[in-house]
């Protein structure tokens, strides 16, 4: 059985994915801010470094998969947290365990978002993250930005994350490590349970076709099943893929984007 490391698996999509993987007999290591197998603040360089060191100590012979799932949505949290956790918390963790993945011919999966295809991302922000990923300078740049526009920065980090996967995957793949992204649609979480009526109305304006006429939010298990598959050896042909797991929302809104 394999060793699967997943970040942000204390709740939501991550917890469901961990449950699936454990059910298949794998050893799962949850790295989260609290209640994880390894507690670490992945929004900080120190937290990431500590988690990476711990993984090397525990698994010197390698790991089978790294699932970089930890993230935060915009609206209430500081923009700096969105950038540090969503982008650097994923890419730095993936880079940090690349050698462990290489030892076992493993795979890496990151959690992006289907919002990357809806035009909300700021391409200048995504460009900075991909092309000049200096965390300190970028954080300094956004330190006074109103958290109310966090959804734009959320989409920007998730866009940059998907593009990072596309850019890195040829090299990683050639070295035996597959790298892919999952782009979930709107998923039911503890946060969505307490949405204001206008927030819920806005969410319903991004329909999920497979949920037409039913509960408009996807269940975390719908995403987790795909995530567990993409991370598994059964998906050995997938590399550099940004897989939209959104019940068809992207097809509905972007039917002409075939490739």
């Amino acid at each position: 059985m394999g060793i699967y490391v997943i970040t942000g698996a204390t709740s939501g999509i991550g917890a469901k994915t961990a449950e699936i993987l454990r059910g298949r007999g794998h050893e799962v290591v949850n790295i989260d801010l609290k209640n994880g197998d390894i507690d670490a603040n992945l929004a900080t360089k120190e937290g990431r470094a500590g988690a990476i060191a711990e993984l090397h100590e525990r698994y010197p012979d390698g790991i089978d998969a790294m699932i970089c799932n930890a993230g935060v949505s915009g609206g209430k949290v500081p923009i700096s947290l969105i950038i540090s956790l969503n982008y650097f918390g994923a890419t730095e963790m993936a880079h940090g365990v690349f050698d462990l993945l290489e030892k076992k011919g493993g795979s890496c999966v990151v959690t992006s978002s289907n919002s990357i295809a809806q035009g909300a991302a700021r391409m200048d922000v995504a460009g900075m993250l991909n092309n000049h990923p200096d965390e300190n300078r970028i954080i300094e740049l956004v330190k006074d930005v109103d958290p109310a526009v966090g959804h734009i920065y959320y989409a920007s980090t998730k866009y940059a994350l998907a593009r990072w996967v596309r850019r890195m995957s040829p090299d990683w793949g050639s070295r035996g490590v597959r790298l892919n992204a999952i782009a979930p649609g709107n998923v039911r979480t503890a946060i969505t349970a307490n949405m204001l009526p206008q927030q819920r109305a806005a969410m319903e304006g991004i329909p999920v076709p497979t949920h037409f006429g039913e509960e408009p939010l996807m269940d975390p298990i719908e995403i987790a099943n795909a995530m567990a598959f993409v991370a598994s050896p059964e998906a050995c042909g997938l590399n550099g893929v940004v897989l939209f797991v959104d019940g068809g929302t992207d097809a509905l809104l972007n039917s002409e984007k075939v490739y």
């Binding site: 304006g205 002409e256 984007k257």
Partner: protein, 115 residues
Amino acid sequence: MVINDLVSAMQNKDHEALAACFEEDCRLFDYCPSVAGRQNAFLYGRNAIEMSYHNKFMFGGFGMLDPYVVDERTVNFYADYNGTIIHALAQIENCNDGVCTLDNSLIQELVIRPA
């Protein structure tokens, strides 16, 4: 006539009323968005039309301005794509009854083109 229902639904930004103008198996093509730098729309099926226009009305800034119903199949209007205005013609190509004038006529194919 169904064309009046279509116009009313568009003006009220009512995605459910709009979808109700169509037969279940239908299609709506809109060739105007490319003029505004967006993707043209090729929608197949009443549910897809309902969902797509739910999104367009809420986030896409879509609106039908100053409509003039030319006949039972044609409406001349200004299409508002989030501030970009395009003079457009919406043409019902087919209805389930072939005439589009009955109380229960439903659209099988609607094409929106730049005028």
